[in-house]
C-alpha cells in the first residue's frame, strides 16, 4: 500500500521518516519532551517551527480519533489540534507499519507528570483537578463521552491563576447528541479510578508531597464536577419577578465563564410559576467578550483578568462617554501591547503574552502592597521583567530542567526571591520603551514587610490607576471525602 497522508495542508509532513517505526526515529527529529502514560507509542517530533505529537495506532482507530477531534474542535471544545493521519506505512524491508495520528503539540501546555515529578503542593494538585472537572463538564455539555478520563489524557495550560485542561486522548471517546446520566456518571467513576491510580503511581515514585491525600484528590473531581454541572443545568422555578430572576441566573453563569445559548422556559400546569432550565450552555464568556473588544484570543481566566484591567482602565482613565470598543482599542495599544512588547525576545517563549500580562498585574499588586500606594504599570513591567521573568523556565515547548520553579506559586513574591541579589542589567532590555526603567526597585520587598521599600519615584506616568486589584484568593485544600449522593441529579 502506498503512503497516504490525510489532513493538514503541510507538504513537509511527507518528508518525515515514516518508513521507520516511531520508536526508532532518529534522535534529531525527536523533541525532548516527557512522554505520558500511553497504550501506544507516542513521540514528540520537531517539524519546522512546530512540535508534533505522533501516535502509532491502527488505521481505523487513527481515523476515528482524528474525526472525533475535528468534530470537537468545530464545537469549540478545548482539545489538541488534529493535523493528519498517515496510512500505508511500510518499512524499507517491505514490512507494514502501523498508521499514525498526528496532532499539533499545544504550545505552553504542561503534562501533569512533568509538573508532578518534583514534590508538588496540594494547591497545585487541586488546580489540576479543578481544571479537569471544568473540562469534563464542557465535554459532557457537548455530548462527548470520554471513556477514559485521567490526568494523563489531558494537558494543562496556565490560565491566569488557574489552569485550563485540554483533551489529548480521544481514543475511547464518543460523541452523542446528549449524554445519559449513566454515561456521565460512568465517566466520573472512571476519572476517580484513574486519578487515584495516577496519584498512587506518583506516590510509588516518591514524588507526591506527603500532604497530598490521593483519595481526597480523586473525590475532589467528583465534587467539583457535580457542583458545576448542577449550577449550569439545574432547573429553577420562579413565581414572581421572572425577568430579574432570569437575569440573575444568566449573570451567575457568566461569572462562572459560561453563556446561556438556549433557555427552556415552561409555565407550570397551574400557570402559577415558570420553570427555567438552561439548555445550551457555552463556555468562554469572558474569552468571547475580550475577543470581540480587542481581537485578543486568550483563555477564559486570562480573559477575565484582562477584562478586569480593561474595565478599570475604562472607569478611571477614559471619558465616561467613550465607546466601549474605542476604549478597548486604546487600552490594547497603550497598556497591553507595550507590556507584552517590553518582554525581551529571549524570554518570549517562557509564557504566553496574556499569561505574562496576568503575572505583571499580580506583580504590580505586590509592589503596591510593599510601597503602600499604587505603582504605575511601566514600573511593574520593568520590575517584573528584571526580577521575575528571568527566573521562569521556558514553557512554550516544555520543559526546562527546573520543574520546582514551574510549580511555584505564581503571584507570590516570596522571601526567597526578595533575598536574591538584584538581577544585573539584562540584554535586550525593551522596557525603556516606557521611559521609566530606572524606576525599578532594585530589591523586591518581602511580602508583609511593606514599609521597608520606598515608594517608586514620582515621575510622569502614562498609565496610572487608583485601584490595584488583588490577585485571586488561594484555594482551599481538599477536604476529607464527604458522603456522596448515589445518583446524579438531572
Amino acid at each position: 500500500m502506498a503512503l497516504t497522508i490525510k489532513g493538514a495542508a503541510d507538504p513537509g509532513l511527507i518528508a518525515l521518516p515514516w518508513h521507520q517505526p516511531l520508536e526508532r526515529w532518529p534522535a534529531e527529529t525527536i523533541a525532548a519532551l516527557p512522554r505520558g502514560l500511553s497504550r501506544h507509542v507516542v513521540r514528540f517530533v520537531r517539524h519546522g517551527e512546530k512540535i508534533l505529537a505522533i501516535k502509532e495506532t491502527s488505521a481505523d482507530l487513527a481515523l476515528r480519533e482524528f474525526s472525533l477531534l475535528r468534530d470537537l474542535q468545530r464545537r469549540g471544545a478545548p482539545t489538541v489540534i488534529p493535523l493528519a493521519i498517515v496510512k500505508g506505512r511500510e518499512s524499507s524491508d517491505g514490512e507494514d507499519l502501523e498508521a499514525a495520528l498526528v496532532t499539533a503539540h499545544l504550545q505552553f501546555s504542561l503534562p501533569y507528570r512533568a509538573l508532578f515529578s518534583q514534590s508538588l503542593r496540594t494547591e497545585t494538585v487541586v488546580r489540576f483537578i479543578d481544571a479537569l472537572a471544568v473540562l469534563l463538564v464542557r465535554l459532557h455539555l457537548l455530548g462527548f463521552y470520554w471513556g477514559d478520563v485521567s490526568l494523563s489524557n489531558a494537558l494543562f495550560r496556565r490560565d491566569a491563576a488557574e489552569f485550563t485542561a485540554y483533551l489529548v486522548d480521544a481514543e475511547t471517546g464518543e460523541l452523542h447528541p446528549t449524554l445519559t446520566d449513566g454515561q456521565r456518571s460512568h465517566d466520573l467513576d472512571l476519572a476517580r479510578t484513574n486519578i487515584l491510580g495516577e496519584m498512587f503511581d506518583l506516590e510509588a515514585q516518591e514524588v507526591l508531597h506527603e500532604s497530598v491525600e490521593p483519595l481526597a484528590v480523586a473525590d475532589r473531581l467528583d465534587e467539583r464536577y457535580r457542583e458545576l454541572w448542577e449550577t449550569l443545568t439545574e432547573t429553577e422555578t420562579f413565581t414572581s419577578n421572572i425577568p430579574l430572576r432570569i437575569a440573575e441566573r444568566v449573570e451567575a453563569l457568566n461569572r462562572l465563564g459560561f453563556d446561556i445559548g438556549e433557555l427552556d422556559m415552561n409555565q407550570t400546569d397551574d400557570g402559577q410559576a415558570i420553570v427555567i432550565r438552561p439548555k445550551v450552555v457555552d463556555a468562554g464568556h469572558h474569552a468571547r467578550r475580550l475577543m470581540r473588544l480587542t481581537g485578543l484570543d486568550v483563555q477564559e481566566n486570562q480573559a477575565r483578568r484582562l477584562l478586569n484591567d480593561l474595565d478599570e482602565y475604562r472607569c478611571c482613565l477614559s471619558d465616561p462617554g467613550d465607546d466601549e470598543g474605542y476604549v478597548a482599542h486604546r487600552w490594547l495599544t497603550t497598556v497591553f501591547e507595550p507590556t507584552v512588547r517590553a518582554v525581551p525576545r529571549e524570554h518570549r517563549s517562557k509564557l504566553e503574552p496574556a499569561q505574562i500580562f496576568h503575572e505583571v498585574l499580580d506583580h504590580r499588586w505586590f509592589l503596591a502592597q510593599a510601597a503602600g500606594h499604587d505603582v504605575p504599570m511601566e514600573v511593574a513591567v520593568a520590575s517584573y521583567i528584571k526580577h521575575i521573568l528571568p527566573e521562569r523556565p521556558d514553557e512554550k515547548a516544555l520543559l526546562g530542567p527546573s520543574i520546582e520553579e514551574m510549580t511555584a506559586e505564581l503571584p507570590a513574591l516570596t522571601a526567597e526571591i526578595a533575598s536574591r541579589s538584584p538581577v544585573p542589567d539584562f540584554e535586550g532590555d525593551n522596557t525603556a520603551g516606557w521611559g521609566h526603567a530606572d524606576d525599578v526597585p532594585e530589591d523586591e520587598p518581602e511580602e508583609g514587610s511593606v514599609e521597608e521599600s520606598g515608594p517608586p519615584q514620582d515621575k510622569p506616568r502614562p498609565v496610572e490607576r487608583k485601584t490595584t486589584r488583588r490577585p485571586a484568593p488561594k484555594r482551599a485544600v481538599p477536604k476529607p471525602p464527604a458522603p456522596k449522593p448515589t445518583a446524579l441529579k438531572d
Binding site: P177, G182, S185, L196, G197
Partner: protein, 386 residues
C-alpha cells in the same frame, strides 16, 4: 454470580423513531458466556450498554439476578466493563496495579491482598505480583488489566469488542484465553463482537441481532445447523452459505437445470405470498460432487478455485438456461456459488462440474418473510419468555 434478564428492553434514541434496540428479551443463565453478534448498527453495543447503565432503558427492564437494575447507576450495578483501558502504572507493582481501585470501595488491605492473590493465581501472574509492569510481556500486561476487573468480583463481566485493536495472531490467542478464563471464573459474561467466528468459538450461546431486533439465540451448533431466517443463515458460517431464490414446480425447486426435491412439509408450509418461489440455502460444505445425470445434480461453471491445503473452494455460477436464480446472497459476489471440494481433485477454471445437496443439509426459507419453513422449530427463540 447471577443471571441477567433483558425483559422487553427497548432503547429509543432521542429524536429517532425506530428503536435502536427493540423489545430485547433474553435470559442469560448464571455463569453463561453469551455473545451478542451482528453487523454494525444492529444494536449489539447498545444492548450491552443498556446492561452497563450507559444507555437509558426507555421501555421494559433489565435484571441482574433478582434485582431490577433498570434505573440503577452504572457503578452500583455490580458489573465490570473489561478492557476499557489498558493503562498500567509504571511505578506500581503488578499487585498494586490490580488492587488499588478497591481502596475507593473502602476494602481493607488484607482483603485486597487476598483478592489480588486469588486473581493472580487464575491469571498465572502469581510470580509477577511484586514486579513492575515494564517487566511483563504484552499478553501479561493485558492479563493484569483483566485482573483489575476480576478483583472487583462483579456479578457480570461485560466486554465490548475487546479484541478489535489486536493484530490477527494476538486476537486468536487472546480469544482462547478469555474463553478459558471465563470458564474458570464461572462469572456470567456478555460479550459483543461483529465477528461471527469469534462468536462461534467463544460463546455458550450466541444472540444474533439485526436492526435492533433479536433474530435468533442459541448454541453455536443450533445457529449453524438451524438458522431461523435468511439473515442468520447468511451471517453465521464462513465461507457464507449459498442462498438463492428459486421457482417451485411440482414439489421441487428449479435450480439451474436441476430440480431439487422439497419435502412435503416444506411444500405445505409455503403460502400464497411466496408466489411459488422459495429461498434455498446450502453451505459450501453441504455439497457433494456428482455425475451430470445424478438426481438433483446442479451444474456449476467453475470461475476460480481457491486451494487452502486441507480444503479447496470452487467459486462458480449456475448456468441459467432453465429456471433462473433470481436473487443470490453470497458474500463472495453476486450470483456466485461456493463449493468446498476435495483438495486432491480440483477442477480447472472454465470446467463445468456437478454437485448435489446432501440430504437434510438444505435450508428452506419463505420468500415473503425470510423465515425458516421447516425443521428445528424447537430451537426457535428457545429462551424467549411467554
Amino acid at each position: 454470580m447471577a443471571t441477567v434478564t433483558y425483559d422487553h428492553a427497548t432503547r429509543i434514541y432521542p429524536g429517532t423513531d425506530r428503536p435502536a434496540v427493540d423489545q430485547l428479551d433474553i435470559k442469560i443463565e448464571d455463569g453463561e458466556f453469551l455473545v451478542l453478534v451482528g453487523p454494525s448498527g444492529c444494536g449489539k453495543s447498545t444492548s450491552l450498554r443498556m446492561l452497563a447503565g450507559l444507555e437509558d432503558i426507555d421501555e421494559g427492564s433489565i435484571w441482574v439476578g433478582d434485582r431490577d437494575v433498570t434505573r440503577v447507576q452504572p457503578k452500583d450495578r455490580d458489573i465490570a466493563m473489561v478492557f476499557q483501558s489498558y493503562a498500567l502504572y509504571p511505578h506500581m507493582s503488578v499487585a498494586d496495579n490490580m488492587g488499588f481501585a478497591l481502596k475507593i470501595a473502602g476494602i481493607s488491605k488484607p482483603e485486597i491482598a487476598e483478592r489480588v492473590e486469588a486473581a493472580a493465581k487464575i491469571l498465572d501472574l502469581t510470580e509477577y505480583l511484586g514486579r513492575k509492569p515494564r517487566a511483563l510481556s504484552g499478553g501479561q500486561r493485558q492479563r493484569v488489566a483483566m485482573g483489575r476487573a476480576i478483583v472487583r468480583q462483579p456479578q457480570v463481566f461485560l466486554m465490548d469488542e475487546p479484541l478489535s485493536n489486536l493484530d490477527a495472531k494476538l486476537r486468536v490467542q487472546t480469544r482462547t484465553q478469555i474463553a478459558a478464563l471465563q470458564r474458570r471464573l464461572g462469572t456470567t459474561t456478555v460479550y459483543v463482537t461483529h465477528d461471527q467466528i469469534e462468536a462461534l468459538t467463544m460463546g455458550d450461546r450466541i444472540a444474533v441481532l439485526k436492526d435492533g431486533i433479536l433474530q435468533q439465540i442459541g448454541t453455536p451448533r443450533e445457529m449453524f445447523d438451524f438458522p431461523e431466517n435468511v439473515f442468520v443463515a447468511g451471517f453465521i458460517g464462513s465461507p457464507t452459505m449459498n442462498i438463492g431464490t428459486y421457482q417451485v414446480f411440482d414439489g421441487a425447486a428449479q435450480v439451474g437445470r436441476a430440480r431439487i426435491p422439497l419435502t412435503r412439509d416444506t411444500i405445505a408450509a409455503l403460502k400464497e405470498e411466496d408466489k411459488n418461489t422459495i429461498i434455498l440455502g446450502f453451505r459450501p460444505e453441504a455439497l457433494d460432487r456428482s455425475t451430470a445425470n445424478a438426481e438433483g445434480a446442479i451444474p456449476i461453471d467453475v470461475e476460480a478455485v481457491e486451494e487452502l491445503g486441507s480444503d479447496a473452494y470452487v467459486y462458480g455460477s449456475i448456468p441459467n438456461e432453465f429456471g433462473a436464480s433470481e436473487e443470490f446472497h453470497f458474500a463472495a459476489g453476486e450470483a456466485q456459488i461456493i463449493v468446498r471440494i476435495d483438495p486432491r481433485d480440483v477442477p480447472k477454471k472454465g470446467d463445468t462440474m456437478w454437485v448435489t445437496i446432501r440430504k437434510d443439509e438444505q435450508h428452506a426459507f419463505s420468500t415473503a418473510t425470510g423465515e425458516r419453513l421447516t425443521g428445528a422449530t424447537k430451537h426457535r427463540r428457545s429462551s424467549k419468555k411467554k
